[in-house]
């Protein structure tokens, strides 16, 4: 119903305004196409239905606008022949949904396609640039953080490609910055970064015998220090090459420049001289091999023979030398001569120099003999000197021995004298000591004897005194006995008095007990409001310190009684009246009473007559009257007994009152017991 009414009302006034609003909306929307939410009204008739004009997109309708068509699926205007050009519309054409060419709609229209393309490209470009930037940033961050964190360093170097290189590079840079000296030292040799090192096939030890010609290319290039390859080779050569080669080399050197003071040595006495010799003539090293090849052919044969010929000549000279070999000078001379001979031999000019050499040999032998003679003379002189020296030393030694012996004898005599004096001193000492001992022993003996005498005197005196005492005692005994009797009687009297004292004490104690009990009783009777009487009870207990009866009596009292106090008899009676009215209300109840019976009992109990005095009977009313009379008489015990006889609801209602009466009775009983105990004690004493 409500809905219907609403609809009707809307039908009246609402629609036109809504329609107009809708139109307005459209007008506004023409300005901002695709702004988002377009409000639609369900009950609005679409203008297109009323209008015969074809639906025109806001931008496309007006000629003035130059706005492009909105992207997306749009009615494909250019395709259909019937669609109007933007200027004029065909009014009478029935509006139809976009005809068959709509198939083109499925195909993405040509216009929008170019638009996304640049976007896509741009997107890819942007995407890659962002990825690149991010990755570089991440890598840089990783490198930095790996420098900071050790764990991350491990991770980064292990899993990120090129991470290790980057981290190492940065680490080395920092290292260099920190220790420039060490870094420079290492700088010449790059850090071992695992780069492969090529070891040429020729290097290292091999079974091949090294050839001198080949190393030119390989070994020289691979030498550790490229600036000094020659000396090495020069050193190497003499070891490996044969003696003959050496000789040859020397020859060639000599050919190259004769003035050079060359000294080809005997193979035993290898000297470092060849090194400097070879140095200046760089090409020479290479030459020897070539030279061997180049050397004139007629020359080769004799060269090979010559050493076999010449050595005997050289060795023939040597024996001469050996005789004088003791002197180094002669040796040197011999060496020189040998060199010259070898040189001469090499030159093949034996005939020329043989005479001179022979002369030189003679001279040499002469020099040797001269030196020998000199030596002999010097030896003789030295022998003579040594003999003189020896004699001198012998003499000195003898004198020394003599002196030492004299001294020894002197010392011996001195020691003997000292010994004698010492011995005499010791003997005297001992004699003195002996005398002193003897005197002391005599004195002790005399003292002992005197002591014995004194003891005897003392004993004598004692005996005398005893005798005198005995005699005096005998005379006195008769009087002293009487005195002791007197003292005995006095003691007995004292005992009697002490006994009486204990009796008096006990009496006092019982009196105290009486007083305390009376105090408690008075306190209980006087009070009008229940009040705790713990202090009084404690005092009572203290007075009757170890009386078992009193202790038991106090223990029998309910603790709540003396902690909270007990009501007086007046209060008890007052409360009993209140209880009695309540009990009377419930006096007529049957067993298993419900609400109705309770109500009836409450009502009917008001009609009951009241009894008085000691009524007979077991009904509630008579019990109550009897209790009241007992209470008025002051007989609490009987009253409690009567109330205890009640049953059912009456008993539950009166339970609290009964409990109080019982407490009072307990206290009274305990006090009675204590009082009788006190009386009993006072009786017992007498």
């Amino acid at each position: 119903m409500l809905r219907a009414s609403l609809r009707s009302s809307r039908a009246f006034g609402y629609k036109p305004s809504v329609a107009s609003a809708g139109r307005q909306w459209h007008a506004i929307q023409a300005g901002r196409v695709g702004s988002g939410s377009v409000r639609g009204y369900a009950d609005e008739k679409k203008p297109s239905i009323a209008d015969s004009r074809a639906p025109v997109l806001p931008g496309s309708a007006s000629t003035s606008t130059s706005e492009p068509l909105p992207p997306g699926r749009v009615a494909p205007t250019p395709v259909t022949p019937a669609t109007p050009t933007p200027g004029n519309t065909i009014p009478n054409v029935p509006l139809t949904p976009p005809p068959p060419p709509s198939s083109t709609a499925s195909v993405p229209p040509p216009a929008p396609t170019p638009a996304p393309k640049p976007k896509k490209r741009r997107f890819f470009r942007r995407f890659f640039t962002t990825i690149f930037l991010l990755s570089t940033l991440g890598f840089a961050g990783g490198v930095y953080y790996s420098r900071v964190n050790d764990n991350f360093h491990d991770f980064f170097t292990e899993y990120v490609p090129f991470g290790e290189d980057a981290v190492l590079y940065f680490e080395e840079r920092e290292f260099r910055k920190r220790f420039p000296r060490i870094a420079d030292r290492q700088g010449s040799r790059p850090r071992d970064t695992g780069a492969s090192v090529n070891i040429p096939s020729q290097s290292g030890v091999s079974w091949k015998v090294a050839e001198s010609s080949k190393p030119d290319a390989g070994r020289h290039a691979n030498a550790m220090k490229p600036d000094a390859p020659k000396p090495k080779e020069a050193i190497q050569n003499p070891t490996e090459t044969k003696q003959e080669d050496k000789v040859k080399a020397v020859e060639i050197v000599k050919k190259a420049d004769t003035p050079a003071p060359s000294k080809p040595t005997v193979p035993a006495g290898k000297s470092p001289e060849p090194v400097p010799q070879a140095k200046p003539h760089h090409p020479v090293t290479a030459e020897p091999v070539k030279a061997s090849g180049q050397s004139p052919v007629p020359f080769v044969a004799p060269e090979v023979d010559q050493p076999s010929k010449f050595p005997p000549e050289v060795t023939m000279i040597d024996p001469i030398n050996i005789k004088d070999a003791d002197e180094p000078v002669v040796q040197d001379l011999v060496k020189m001569l040998n060199d010259i001979i070898t040189a001469v031999n090499a030159d093949n000019a034996n005939q020329k120099y043989s005479s001179t050499i022979g002369k030189a040999k003679g001279d040499l032998t002469k020099v040797g003999s001269k030196i020998k003679a000199l030596k002999a003379a010097i030896l003789k002189e030295a022998d003579a000197k040594i003999k003189a020296e020896k004699e001198d030393f012998d003499r000195a030694a003898k004198e020394l021995i003599r002196r030492v012996e004299a001294e020894m004898q002197h010392q011996q005599s001195e020691w003997q004298e000292e010994y004698q004096t010492e011995r005499q001193k010791i003997v005297q000492n001992y004699e003195q000591k002996l005398k002193a001992e003897i005197e002391k022993a005599n004195e002790v003996n005399e003292q002992r004897l005197r002591n014995g005498l004194l003891e005897q005197a003392i004993e004598m005196k004692k005996k005398f005194i005893q005798d005198v005492k005995d005699k005096v005692e005998e005379e006195r005994n008769s009087r002293l006995g009487k005195l002791s009797d007197l003292s005995n009687t006095v003691n007995e009297l004292e005992k009697l008095t002490t006994d009486w004292n204990s009796v008096v004490d006990a009496n006092l104690k019982t009196q105290h007990l009486h007083v305390a009990v009376e105090a408690v009783r008075a306190n209980l009777e006087k009070i009008e409001v229940p009040r705790p009487f713990v202090r009084e009870l404690a005092a009572l207990k203290e007075i009757a310190s170890d009386d078992p009866v009193v202790n038991a009596a106090i223990a029998s009292i309910n603790p709540t009684a003396y902690q909270r106090g007990i009501p007086s008899s007046a209060q008890l009676i007052d409360r009993f009246r209140r209880v009695a009215t309540e009990v009377r209300k419930a006096s007529l109840l049957p067993e298993e009473a419900g609400v109705a019976s309770h109500a009836s009992s409450y009502l009917l109990s008001k009609l009951l007559f009241k009894k008085k005095g000691l009524a007979t009977g077991d009904d509630v009313e008579s019990i109550l009257t009897r209790t009241e009379t007992f209470l008025e008489e002051g007989d609490l015990d009987n009253a409690a007994r009567e109330m205890n006889g009640l049953q059912g609801w009456a008993k539950t209602l009166s339970r609290d009152w009964l409990g109080e009466v019982r407490k009072v009775l307990e206290v009274q009983q305990a006090l009675d017991v204590i009082a009788t105990e006190a009386r009993l004690q006072s009786l017992r004493v007498e």
């Binding site: 209880v579 309540e582 298993e592 609400v595 309770h598 539950t652 209602l653 339970r655 609290d656």
Partner: protein, 94 residues
């Protein structure tokens, strides 16, 4: 702040057990209050029902009143019967 000796707060007065002579009266009080409450509740329900369903007739209200009163009476009766024997005795549950 100076040290002031604050007296210990008085022990919260526990709801002490009612004195035995007041047991019955208390029961009656409870019964009457429950009777009042329940009967008024029943009456109100009856009135509502009569307005909604029964064309504003009177009897549903009375019926509701009767229901409420009857329920109160039943409860009261039960309490009297149950408690009559062991009133004021606290049974400790195992």
């Amino acid at each position: 702040m100076p040290e002031t000796t604050i007296p210990p707060p008085p022990l919260a007065a526990r709801p002490t057990k009612p004195v035995s002579e007041a047991l019955l009266n208390e029961k009656w009080d409870r019964c009457l209050s429950s009777l009042l409450i329940r009967s008024s509740l029943g009456l109100s329900f009856g009135v509502v029902f009569s307005v909604l369903l029964f064309k504003r007739r009177a009897w549903p209200a009375f019926v509701g009143l009767g229901f409420g009163a009857g329920r109160a009476y039943e409860e009261c009766n039960g309490s009297f019967l149950r408690e009559g024997r062991k009133e004021g005795v606290r049974t400790v549950r195992p």
